[in-house]
């Protein structure tokens, strides 16, 4: 379970995340939607202790991320796709992460196999395609076999087979009672996969509802665009 309480982040005078209160429950896939620059990545960075909230809190099973003693065993995260050193091999990238949390080397080979990178494990990541980087990032998230997953646009750069694979992976995770928070811009994919939908715009919460209740039989894209449009009108109306 991930709990955001009045979570706020300002940079200079600009409010990027504005008073978000959301609970992400286990046992379902929660899609995290919003336009570019809405504050999704910043929210995820605050959940993972990379950015400090200006106000409010983000906790995982009641603990701040920083206080988790062996964090990779609690939370698996994918933030930016290209987050390995180009001169290091895929396996060595996962190896140093595993070592930092006391995870066995055998687990590194297991996850490489699981994400389909076993054949290129000893290749340096500088030559990897976006899809391969994405798979490596997902492998890193799976290392500690965590009960919580936080993934920022995991579908980016994946081919059709890859998209299907990640869909099955996330469904499997949720079915095992784990917590899955995943941001995405691929709304038709979200409509096929998600159980719960959280929408933010300009850092503010626009919707937090079960997918079926939110769309009511309509395409998610239509509902989503309507939500975003209303929020823009509301804000500009308020300014005027």
């Amino acid at each position: 379970m991930i709990e955001l309480i009045n979570l706020t982040k300002t940079y200079g005078g600009r409010t990027v995340v504005d008073d978000l209160t959301v609970t992400v429950h286990p046992g379902r896939i929660t899609a995290f939607l919003g336009p570019n620059g809405a504050g999704k990545s910043t929210t995820m960075r605050m959940i993972l202790g990379l950015a400090a909230p200006t106000r409010g809190s983000a906790t995982i099973h009641g603990h701040a991320y920083r206080d988790l003693p062996v964090p990779l065993r609690h939370v698996g995260a994918l933030l930016e796709a290209r987050s390995s050193h180009p001169g290091r091999t895929a396996r060595n990238h996962l190896l140093f992460l595993a070592r930092s949390n006391g995870i066995a080397t055998s687990r590194v080979d297991e996850v490489l196999d699981e994400v389909g990178l076993a054949a290129v494990a000893h290749r340096r990541t500088g030559g990897f395609s976006l899809g391969m980087h994405q798979r490596l990032g997902i492998a890193a998230a799976l290392l500690g076999d965590p009960p919580v997953l936080v993934l920022d646009e995991p579908g980016n750069g994946l081919d059709a087979e890859g998209i299907r694979w990640i869909r099955d992976l996330l469904r499997g995770f949720a079915a095992q009672g784990r917590t899955v928070l995943v941001s995405s811009h691929l709304l038709s994919e979200v409509q096929r996969t998600a159980d719960q939908v959280v929408v933010i715009g300009a850092g503010r919460l626009l919707a937090d509802a079960a997918l079926s209740a939110l769309v009511g039989g309509r395409p998610l894209e239509e509902v989503y665009l309507q939500l975003i449009e209303q929020s823009i009108e509301y804000h500009s109306g308020r300014l005027a």
């Binding site: 930016e80 290209r82 001169g87 290091r88 190896l95 140093f96």
Partner: protein
């Protein structure tokens, strides 16, 4: 301990680490041989002072090694995953200091010892001097590598940090001679510390002081690391 092993894994799995470490090892030998074969040693100089005193140039790659270990995480985009894995952050900096300082200590000790032995055998007419100050020299090298880690952590850019740390190393030696009464300033940096301890082996305390000052540079770097968003 896990985090030290993790940082060592990062270090040993990049080629640049080995190139830099190799330079720290070989440069002192090359410089000592150069001093010996060019006959540039004054007749009353000891081998220690003449040959080892000039190996200070290898302090630059020692500092760069530290910089690469720290700022390389930003250049290589691994800072996010690293801090997600170790959210308390400061153990990462401490482990980097141990890995950079430890590897440079071992390699600088070996490199300067070989340089000393080779120079002594090439210069049979000169008094050799004691070998003990070589330990103090290696400690200054290790301190310099840790200084590189601190500067790399603070500046978060390999290019910027290499420039800054090279400046910190070279400026006292370059400016010292031209500032007259303030000449003693030149002795404050790692360059000056190495030269003092080989000229006057009794001054190992100065060298130790400079090394400790370098170690302490991780404190402000750690403060920045804890305070800033990644």
């Amino acid at each position: 301990m896990n985090i030290i092993i993790s940082e060592w894994t990062k270090f040993r799995t990049l080629r640049s680490s080995w190139w830099t470490l190799g330079t720290v090892a070989l440069l002192p030998v090359a410089v000592a041989v150069l001093v010996a074969v060019t006959g540039s040693l004054a007749s009353n100089d000891t081998v220690l002072a003449g040959a080892i005193g000039n190996t200070v140039v290898a302090l630059v790659p020692a500092a760069i090694l530290g910089v690469l270990l720290a700022a390389g995480e930003h250049t290589g985009a691994t800072m996010g995953p690293t801090i997600v894995a170790v959210p308390r952050r400061w153990p990462v900096l401490a482990a980097k200091a141990v890995v950079a300082g430890g590897s440079v200590l071992a390699v600088a000790l070996a490199g300067n010892l070989v340089a000393f032995v080779v120079a002594a055998s090439l210069l049979p007419d000169h008094e050799t001097g004691e070998a003990a100050p070589l330990v103090a020299v290696a400690i200054v090298y290790a301190g310099t590598a840790v200084l590189g880690v601190a500067v790399g952590t603070a500046l978060r850019s390999s290019a910027g940090a290499v420039t800054a740390v090279t400046g910190v190393l070279l400026l006292p030696a370059l400016l010292g001679p031209i500032v007259g009464r303030l000449r003693w300033l030149a002795d404050l940096g790692p360059f000056g510390a190495v030269q003092q301890v080989v000229l006057e082996p009794g001054r190992w305390l100065t060298a130790a002081g400079v090394a400790v000052a370098c170690l302490l540079s991780v404190v402000p770097a750690g403060w920045l690391l804890l305070r800033r968003d990644v």
